[in-house]
């Protein structure tokens, strides 16, 4: 495709779950889209995360977006022809300390006003429903309609559906330069392809900061890698996704059992990640730390074996809130990146909202808290870009 040129309505930079679902939902609205992915769709953070479709515990103003996304998760087969192994198993957050139980109870009360109904479970009720919990667990909060999906499958499935519906999904195509001339963005790529479009959507995850900085909107973001692993399979029996609510970093592990029987787990300490190498490596000591924590939550897990560990490159903002919405400086430019390790559940909703925003000029779901101007309205010197 050397020196080929394509004109489209929206050029999407980055084929993670956000970009792939945005391309899909743009086509649903009849908007033409070209998705440019440097590697393969869903290969980075979208493909290596835990696969949590969890709403409870989120930053409250994020719940409307999370609800919209949860609705899409439940309709994946009709929308994209694939379920991405989503199942609404319920999600339980457990605690070890009374003080933490108070936090969880308060969250449940507050979340009710945001449309999320949670059930508070005491020690005996929790054990009655989920007998695998260990003696240190004193209670928890249960979200019946949350669940989990397979991150390896979700973004590629959105990519294929976008392509099926007429989007151009171009893999192995690195964006070298984005410039604006007149009304159009002009995107030059490593494969010689040039794309021009009146709108550009930046969905390049941990690499998004370099893009926004190039448009004069630097953000405080650092790349980190999750500590992930999977066990050998055992008969399916642990239905809900389980996580720990805690203020102690290494206690904060989570796990889920997939229908095939394996237990996927993650959480606790994160690893350094490298934007240039596009990789992050698991610190083996963090894995051992997770094993210790998992035995606290569910002692029987100590009888299993770990088969595989992995990490990936995620972008973390210093306020733990993503960047989403229009640029504050350049018309026609939109951002959706930096989801701080909690973007998987939001992904389909983000794609839907960004498509709505670009197609209609407004989002029916509030996304103001995620606007980039929260960083760009302060002097640039205080917002050094760590990862450019």
């Amino acid at each position: 495709m050397s020196s080929q040129h394509v004109q489209t309505d929206v050029v999407v930079v980055g084929g993670g779950l956000m970009g792939a679902s945005a391309a899909f939902f743009l086509r649903q609205r009849g908007v033409s889209a070209v998705l440019l992915e440097r590697g393969l769709v869903g290969q980075q953070a979208s493909g290596v995360n835990f696969g949590n479709v969890r709403r409870q515990g989120r930053f409250l103003p994020q719940l409307p977006l999370a609800h919209r996304s949860r609705d899409i998760w439940g309709r994946l087969p009709e929308l994209i022809g694939h379920d991405a192994e989503f199942i609404a198993t319920g999600h339980v957050r457990v605690v070890y300390a009374e003080s933490q139980m108070a936090d969880v109870e308060k969250y449940a009360t507050d979340a009710k006003h945001w449309g999320l109904d949670l059930q508070i479970l005491g020690r005996s009720e929790l054990r009655k429903r989920f007998p695998f919990f260990g003696p240190e667990v004193i209670g928890g909060s249960y979200s019946p309609n949350d669940g989990h999906a397979n991150p390896r499958l979700a973004a590629p499935a959105f990519g294929r559906a976008a392509k099926r519906d007429g989007a151009q999904v171009i893999e192995d195509c690195e964006v070298l330069q984005v410039e604006k001339s007149g009304q159009d963005f002009r995107v030059n790529t490593s494969s010689g392809l040039t794309v021009t479009a009146p709108a550009a959507l930046i969905c390049s995850g941990a690499w998004g900061g370099a893009m926004s900085a190039a448009w004069g909107e630097p953000v405080p973001m650092v790349p980190k890698g999750p500590t992930m692993a999977v066990t050998e399979p055992l008969p399916y029996g642990i239905v809900p996704v389980v996580g720990v609510s805690t203020r102690i970093e290494h206690e904060g592990v989570y796990f889920r059992q997939v229908r095939r029987g394996n237990i996927v787990f993650g959480g606790g300490r994160r690893n350094p990640a490298y934007l240039d190498g596009r990789r992050a490596n698991v610190n083996p000591n963090w894995t051992l730390g997770q094993l210790h924590e998992l035995r606290r939550i569910a002692p029987a897990l100590g009888k299993l074996n770990v088969l595989r560990t992995w990490s990936g490159v995620e972008g973390y903002m210093d306020d733990d809130i993503p960047i989403m919405g229009p640029s504050a400086k350049v018309s026609g430019l939109y951002y959706a990146f930096g989801f701080c390790g909690h973007g998987f559940q939001l992904g389909p909703g983000v794609g839907d909202v960004m498509a709505e925003l670009i197609a209609t000029g407004a989002s029916s779901t509030p996304i103001e808290p995620f606007h980039i101007h929260r960083f760009t309205s302060v002097p640039a010197a205080e917002t050094a870009v760590v990862n450019a």
Partner: protein
């Protein structure tokens, strides 16, 4: 200057000779080995209390086995020996180990000599998931270690020198060998004779094995194509079906099958050390890049023995010693460097023989790409040839790690050790790409399954 901290992984021929060179230079290396006793796979020792003689256990290689075991006994006071210890992960300058499945430790190193050995290279065949199917290596371990046969009436199928060696060992041990079925043809073996003549004694040994099997009345077939291992879930293996070179179908009744297509290097630690791998055309597999002394592309990491190149036990002894001498030289502790040119020369001869073996007993890659859709390729995850083809055709996978992500091939207990090569052939064939373009499964820790009961690790001071 403080002594460099050197860890040798593996106590087979390469590891023992590496440790020996380090001790001669006045160092006290740590030797980490998965085995309960030294000797590796080839010179595996029988458990305590078993009383078979060296000639009974090791045949023509009895003296070499004894020499290696004696050398290791002599080294014991001078090394930090850690048997039954899995090197489960590796980070810069640190080896993460778990001993006895329960004691974790982090061992710092300046130089790491990885002698991780090889496992069988396997080609799926329909029915290879039935109980009673073993790899040739496993069949040999059962015999060497426990004096057990894998069955009463055994078929050995595949290709490579191990096929004949294991069959002859079974015959000597009194097992009934129903047939030895080789996918390589007699003509390719004859064409490889000039290269195999690089090591005349080994070639002679091989020819003697074949003659011994033939005179014992064992059915030997060449140029065959496996069709299926027959059997059922209840009783396991009941027989083997195959086609001969003329396309005629044959079958043999048996209650166990030993399968193997020569060997594959165990490259996980090299992979975790971020060593560069290159595609090796003669063997159609990815091998870690090493220089003539065994230096990998990762600083301080040396690779020797079958884990780097399949040169066999003699080659492993030479490569282990050479890698240790290279590590000593690089650490500013030159020792016996005068031996290095001679060792390199020996290894060059052995590499010629290695290529001869690959020519004589080629990996029958076309059999992998022609597997019927219903044949299970990845036994751990139950992924069939048809599933893999659909992953390429319908989901667009063009590369092995992508295929793994989309259909689970290579995701199970063996982490693709036994299905990875055949799966790559299937993906390449379905995607109409040369095999080297579809890549290889990336190594991910743990090197082998890690018990979740293990405690946090402490860093040890060397």
């Amino acid at each position: 200057m403080a002594d460099p901290r050197v860890i040798v992984v593996g106590a087979g021929p390469a590891g023992v000779r590496a440790a020996q060179a380090l001790v001669e230079a006045g160092l006290r290396p740590t030797v980490v080995d998965e085995g309960r006793r030294d000797g590796g796979q080839i010179y595996r020792r029988q458990p305590e209390g078993f009383a078979r003689s060296y000639p009974q256990l090791y045949g023509t290689e009895a003296q070499k086995a004894k020499d290696l075991h004696d050398s290791f006994e002599a080294l014991r006071p001078h090394i930090d020996y850690r048997p039954e210890t899995l090197a489960w992960n590796l980070t810069a300058g640190q080896l993460h180990v778990v001993a006895g499945g329960e004691r974790t430790a982090v061992l710092p190193y300046d130089s790491l000599i990885v002698c991780s050995g090889a496992t069988d290279r396997l080609l799926p065949v329909e029915g290879w998931h039935y109980a009673g199917c073993y790899s040739l290596g496993a069949a040999q371990i059962a015999l060497k270690s426990q004096a057990c046969s894998i069955g009463k009436r055994v078929v050995f199928m595949g290709t490579g020198p191990l096929l004949y060696l294991v069959a002859s060992q079974y015959l000597k041990a009194g097992a009934q060998v129903a047939a030895v079925l080789d996918t390589s043809s007699l003509s390719t073996r004859i064409r490889a004779l000039p290269a195999l003549a690089a090591r005349p004694a080994l070639l002679w040994n091989g020819l003697k094995l074949v003659a011994m099997l033939r005179s014992a009345g064992v059915r030997l077939m060449a140029g065959i194509s496996p069709v299926a291992v027959t059997g059922d879930d209840e009783r396991g293996v009941s027989g083997v079906r195959l086609r001969d070179a003329q396309g005629r179908e044959h079958s043999f009744e048996c209650d166990a099958v030993g399968l193997g297509y020569h060997l594959r290097s165990e490259g996980q630690l090299a992979d975790l050390a971020k060593c560069h791998f290159d595609f090796d055309e003669p063997s159609r597999q990815w091998l870690p890049r090493i220089d003539e002394d065994g230096r990998s592309s990762a600083p301080g990491v040396y690779l020797a023995g079958d884990g780097a190149r399949i040169l066999g036990a003699d080659g492993a002894e030479a490569a282990g010693r050479l890698a240790a001498l290279a590590a000593l030289k690089d650490a500013g502790r030159p020792h016996a460097v005068v031996e290095m040119p001679q060792l390199r020369k020996r290894l060059a001869t052995m590499d010629k023989f290695r290529r001869g073996l690959l020519q004589a007993f080629p990996w029958p890659h076309q059999l992998a790409s022609q597997l019927p859709d219903r044949a299970i390729v990845c036994r751990c995850e139950g992924v069939s040839a048809g599933d893999l083809r659909a992953t390429v055709r319908d989901l667009g996978a063009q590369e092995m790690n992508r295929a793994k992500a989309l259909c689970r091939v290579g995701m199970g207990r063996c982490q693709g050790r036994y299905c990875g090569h055949a799966a790559a052939e299937l993906v390449a064939d379905a995607a109409v790409l040369p095999i080297e373009r579809v890549g290889r499964l990336r190594g991910q820790g743990p090197v082998k399954p890690l018990p979740m009961s293990v405690p946090l690790a402490v860093e040890e001071q060397a």
